[in-house]
Symmetry: C2
Subunit: 367 residues, 2 copies
């Protein structure tokens, strides 16, 4: 079992990674102070059918009343409706201020359950139990929230978990599309902060099917430590943390315009990263591996930009992004591989670049 | 103009009290850093018809785009529906992370607008501009939130404002019921922490019609300073802050069972305070002025417990209160006048006391 510590201004908490970490969960909960009065497991249909019984089984006899609530699967379920349903269930079960929420699932459940925990009676404790590769990113850092029809993750709070229990055993059941989605964030972490890790990935992970348990544990720890380092320096995203949004400005716009759930988060981010790389090359005049990385992502089956999306509407959506100020788009760009920075890019240049990117993608990437 | 400083772990901010404080608002906003990009005034129908034009007028020409959104009046409007509507409007107007929300209204607007600000893009800045006497309590301390059909203020966050601008000019238009509602919290502050202030109130405020501007400024400052002192020691209500809930455990249950809006918050709290005093006398065996304070509250036209409410259902609701843990009710009681403490009271004793209180109230207080 690997253990890491996340330090933020508001909290210090552990991340446990390994095949048998869930064995430690009951003792960890028992040791929390003030004593946990009751536990609510929030999960989705897919994950609960696979792992709810096993997880609940470990917590049944430790003394607290145990409840579980299951929402439908899919990012579009990170909705006001489900937020309200979770709160209602928690109230009906009599959860109090010393209750604990367990987020059992991928990023959608982590964000939703974290927002429920962050706002139920003005904030109760929660533990992240991620079940996807993608959640290596979202489970650490305390960002929680839900979608609004006008934008993804537009409503939420910063609320750090008590701990993250990352069972690699859960990852074995992931379908390939989910692996790919998670891998986009792993690649992102390497590109913004760790050139050596980027070369390791290119060399060691030749396909998403062949990741051994050892390599998986290694890359999880390495990717999480990049995230942890950034978050510890800037919990509330006043500066540095913004670089974690590499690929996300366009990525979010793609998800929003394609309709939540129509394209996976990681697939959208992979397109966003390619665009950001292209833009970085245009602005810096340097070779930042756009062609090589494009081919690499293509080999992993990451998709091209959905052809129905148009530059003008993508730009409009990007301008409503949380990172935009006064309607100007702030892009995360690369100075070098492993070195990111944020720059405001003016609308007309962005629109031209987007139009060119869309054309190139149609011609080359979709082949 | 009176100025006070509120200190909490997460923020230090000023409270301005006086007849002309709004004159200072434009400069204050201009001086905020990072620079405010746009301003959204949230208000309710009653307040906006009286003061929105005047308030907006002061902010029209300071450079930021200015929007306003009005929800219906009444505590029952502190709802998920209106929360969602405010967020939607904010997104439609393109509010970004450097925008500012101005809460223009009573406690309902302060709580709702504070929760919108606390969760919009995971938290943006806001300023409280209270327009009621009751809001002297809610505008300071950072508690925000909305109601759920299963309980009042069950969903929210701690989110401190940038400042509180308390214009006593706004209070002149308050109807008597609103004065009374606010005065309940003023009395509460005296009873839990300031015996001398309690005697001052008994002596100086013989009726709610005769409060001069001077006395009003004095009692506001004194009541807010009690609140500020408690909040500065315990921002997140892990201990001491709980004493501010004197009268609120039963008070909230009364509001909830009578139907939000059917009885004012202050009227419900006044009944809750009488019950807590009675209980304090039973437990301590001391004379804690129950009879005198009951008469005093009666003189001010505070009502008796609504006769349709029953002890069993009130107790059930109290057990779902945020201050309850494991289904046990924690009551705020008085040790002496001006000295409060929290004690768990067991169900059967609480039920007996409630039943007796209901009977006494029917016989004596309603006369």
């Amino acid at each position: 079992m690997e253990t890491m510590k996340i330090n933020t201004d508001s909290k210090r908490y552990p991340v446990f990674i390994g095949g048998t970490v869930l064995e430690e969960l009951p003792d960890f909960i028992q040791a929390l102070s003030p004593r946990v009065t009751s536990i609510l497991i929030l999960s989705d249909e897919t994950v609960s059918s696979l792992y709810l019984k096993e997880t609940a089984g470990k917590l049944e006899n430790i003394g607290q009343s145990l409840h579980s609530f299951v929402v439908p699967s899919g990012d579009k379920e990170k909705s006001f409706h489900n937020y309200y349903e979770c709160l209602t269930f928690a109230l009906e079960q009599g959860l109090d201020r010393h209750s604990l929420i367990l987020a059992l699932g991928g990023g959608m459940i982590g964000d939703l359950a974290g927002f429920v925990a962050g706002t139920y009676m003005r904030g109760i404790r929660f533990i992240q139990v991620p079940t996807t590769l993608l959640a290596h990113d979202s489970a650490v850092g305390g960002k929680t929230g839900i979608n609004h029809p006008l934008g993804k993750n537009m409503v939420g709070v910063f609320h750090q978990p008590e701990a993250v229990f990352y069972s690699t055993a859960f990852l074995k059941s992931l379908p390939e599309a989910e692996w790919r989605s998670g891998f986009a964030e792993v690649i992102k972490h390497s590109l913004i902060a760790d050139e050596e890790f980027y070369y390791w990935l290119v060399k060691e992970v030749s396909g998403l099917q062949d990741i051994s348990e050892d390599k998986l544990a290694y890359l999880l720890k390495r990717a999480i430590s990049i995230k942890a380092q950034v978050v510890s320096q800037d919990e509330r995203e006043s500066g540095l943390r913004a670089i974690l949004n590499f690929g996300h400005t366009l990525g979010h716009a793609i998800e929003s315009k394609a309709g939540y759930g129509a394209i996976s988060h990681g697939d959208a981010v992979s397109i966003g990263m390619r665009f950001a790389l292209k833009l970085s090359e245009s602005i810096s005049g340097k070779n930042l591996h756009y062609n090589m990385i494009s081919d690499w992502l293509h080999d992993y089956q990451f998709p091209a930009l959905p052809p129905q999306l148009e530059a003008v509407e993508l730009l409009e959506t990007m301008k409503r992004d949380k990172k935009s100020t006064m309607g100007h788009v702030n892009m995360v760009l690369l100075e070098e591989i492993g070195q990111a920075y944020v720059q405001e890019v003016n609308d007309s240049f962005l629109l031209d670049s987007l139009q060119e990117f869309i054309l190139t993608d149609k011609e080359q990437y979709s082949e």
